[in-house]
């Protein structure tokens, strides 16, 4: 009953006209960036982050969260109609979604993607409500050693799950950790690694770094593909509703996708992308007609689209209960909350119930908005898809510049973004994924603080990390994951799963 009471309290906040508008704006922008290839939710959230400074934290978080789960909905449209994923979590939807469209079944593919997303997103929210409370209670028992080990596990997981070599992922995490150390020492306040530059005394800004690595570098990479034309397949609103047979075939994949997405979304390092791949592999394995996969099987759309939306809901659990972001998007939300002076963690629900319950309730509202935005308005998104990238990319660059500048009205942030844009371009050309770098950058100060506190508490004994059970378990799993990546059989299986993304 308490949860129901709290949820009603949350709806009271979410239905406030400003919050409602903010939610609509968020899901609208989310759908837009999901539909448009070339800018993902991370870029869009970083661009719009400065806008949230002038509004209340709950209104800002509602908008940013809306961009995230909105992008999960919108991404499927581009995958199905153009065979280009609007964002990474929709890569797998291309496989069967576009094949369905080629066979004249674009409508049911778009329909089941939207309905599956709605069902999974809504069910995921139930889990978010119940599990955050429970986990926050457990998290109160965590000490510095547990937090340190949990963050190590998160970094190992994201390294293990990113595309390409584990060693490259680890190097990226190391680089991110070093970048996070630039600026004032978390304990003594001493300035470090600023090289005499005033702009580095407070450290490297999260937003210029993320915009550079994801926004600018993405544009630079796409400059090579400017000549490519998109062929958008036609569809009509009345064709969007799946048939009874479609529903029969999709019901179980939606259920399984929701379950898989929810579980993988909670794990630090997991998230929407990996859950959509696991869901696809699971559906293929469960199917009586695995040969249909890749040729337009509706299960191959329903499962992954449900999984990525469930993951986008459950990804909030570690952030709200432990204060640890599960992925880069949650890292940005963590940054946004901290800028507003709100510290996510076990005490968030008691100290700032309006943020937690307001956001959860707004996500129910946002999911309903998305269903309306993505089905009747599909023709509008199709028109937007026809805007050539050569017209869009100058605007993306401009938004990145405005976003980075307006955080502190400091031109130094633009230089930082420019440098990280080039770095991101080079790294991605060399098959280095920037995600471990960003997660390590965000977790870095917390990781350093907890490591040093744990060592001080244990009087210099590193045994504290292995004698405390929870800490030992996290480190054991992290070590097992990293070691398993060099065992030939596991290496082969991991490569097979991850390179399907290509």
């Amino acid at each position: 009953m308490t949860i129901l009471h709290d949820l009603f309290y949350g709806f009271g906040i979410a239905l406030h006209p400003w919050n409602l508008l903010s939610c609509f704006f968020g899901v609208f922008i989310g759908t837009l960036v999901g539909v448009l290839p070339g800018i993902g939710p991370v870029g869009a959230m970083s661009i719009l982050l400065p806008i949230t400074f002038g509004i209340s934290p709950v209104t800002g978080i509602i908008m940013l969260a809306g961009i995230y789960y909105g992008a999960m909905y919108g991404g499927s449209t581009t995958s199905i109609l153009v065979n280009i994923p609007g964002e990474a979590a929709s890569v797998v939807t291309c496989l069967d979604g576009h094949q369905m469209a080629m066979k004249g079944r674009a409508g049911p593919a778009l329909g089941i993607a939207a309905f599956g997303s709605f069902i999974a997103g809504t069910l995921g929210l139930f889990g978010l409500m119940f599990m955050t409370n429970a986990l926050a209670g457990v998290a109160l028992m965590f000490g510095p050693s547990e937090y340190f080990s949990l963050m190590c596990l998160g970094l190992s997981l994201i390294t293990y799950l990113t595309q390409g070599s584990v060693l490259r992922g680890l190097v990226m995490a190391g680089l991110g950790l070093f970048l996070s150390l630039i600026g004032q020492d978390v304990i003594t306040g001493q300035a470090r690694f600023s090289f005499g530059l005033m702009g580095l005394i407070d450290g490297v800004g999260l937003v210029p770094l993320v915009m550079g690595l994801f926004g600018i570098s993405e544009v630079l990479l796409n400059l090579e593909k400017l000549g490519q034309k998109r062929e958008v397949l036609k569809t009509r609103f009345k064709d969007l509703f799946p048939t009874k047979q479609d529903w029969r075939r999709s019901a179980k994949p939606i259920g399984r996708g929701t379950f898989i997405g929810f579980l993988l979304g909670i794990l630090p390092g997991g998230g929407a992308v990996i859950s959509s791949f696991v869901s696809y592999a699971t559906e293929k394995r469960f199917s009586k007609h695995p040969e249909e996969f890749g040729n337009g099987a509706i299960e191959g759309v329903a499962g992954p689209e449900s999984a990525n939306n469930a993951a986008s809901s459950s990804g909030f659990i570690p952030l709200f209960s432990l204060g640890i972001p599960a992925n880069v998007i949650m890292a940005l939300l963590l940054g946004a909350l901290m800028i507003h002076g709100v510290k996510p963690g076990p005490l968030l629900i008691t100290e700032h119930p309006e943020i937690f319950w307001g956001t959860v309730a707004s996500m129910y509202v946002g999911n309903a908005m998305l269903l309306v935005l993505n089905l009747p308005l599909i023709s509008v998104w199709v028109q937007i898809l026809k805007v050539p990238y050569r017209t869009l990319f100058p605007l993306i660059l401009l938004f990145c510049f405005i976003g980075a500048y307006s955080i502190s009205a400091n031109v130094f942030d633009l230089y930082v973004m420019f440098v990280f844009g080039i770095l991101g371009y080079v790294l991605r050309k060399l098959s280095y994924e920037p995600a471990p770098l960003v997660l390590a950058f965000v977790l870095g100060p917390l990781l350093e603080k907890n490591l040093r506190q744990a060592l001080i508490l244990s009087d210099g004994s590193i045994g504290i990390f292995v004698t405390r059970p929870l800490s030992a378990i996290c480190l054991l799993i992290a070590a097992a994951l990293l070691l398993s990546a060099i065992i030939p059989f596991v290496q082969k299986r991991r490569s097979e799963v991850i390179t399907e993304e290509d």
């Binding site: 002038g54 070093f178 401009l398």
Partner: protein, 157 residues
């Protein structure tokens, strides 16, 4: 063979970067395990990066990794380098000029530069898009959202 050599070089580069991080960390108080100082975690990070670089170099040498994950010369081709360099120069000029010349003027120039390159060198459309983009972004971000954009040589705006 080329891939193997490139991979070894890649490992050596990371060893070098790790070494530099260690040197930078040593400029600060490392403290002890009882009382770690500001350079403590940085030193561990440097050692970690160098160790990963070493592992990379060794792994390449003994062919532990899949060949397609290696960085080959073919993989690092820049498809449209003149446009890439042109765009980067425009962006750098924008950063340098934005404070002295102001948001409106530099944004117009940046947009004109980018659209002119992309709109098949059409002056009219490039001019039109650039003016509209600069004005609309100014109205949205400066007037509506109150982002403090630089005024430069147009102080009344």
């Amino acid at each position: 063979m080329v891939e193997k050599e490139t991979g070894t070089v890649e490992g050596i580069v990371w060893i070098g970067i790790g070494f530099v991080i260690c040197l930078l960390a040593l400029r600060f108080d490392l403290g002890s395990f009882h009382q770690p100082g500001p350079g403590f975690v940085a030193l561990l990070t440097g050692i970690f990066v160098a160790a990963m670089g070493l592992a990379m170099a060794i792994a390449r040498s003994v062919h532990m990794r899949r060949p397609q994950q290696s960085v080959s010369a073919e993989h690092f081709q820049i498809g449209a380098w003149p446009r890439l360099v042109y765009t980067l120069v425009l962006l750098l000029a924008y950063i340098i000029l934005i404070e002295p010349a102001g948001f409106l003027l530099t944004t117009f120039l940046l947009m004109f530069g980018l659209f002119f390159d992309l709109e098949k060198k059409n002056y009219f459309w490039s001019l039109f898009f650039s003016v509209v983009t600069a004005l609309v972004s100014y109205l949205v971000f400066e007037v509506w959202l109150h982002c403090q954009l630089p005024r430069g040589i147009l102080p009344w705006w």
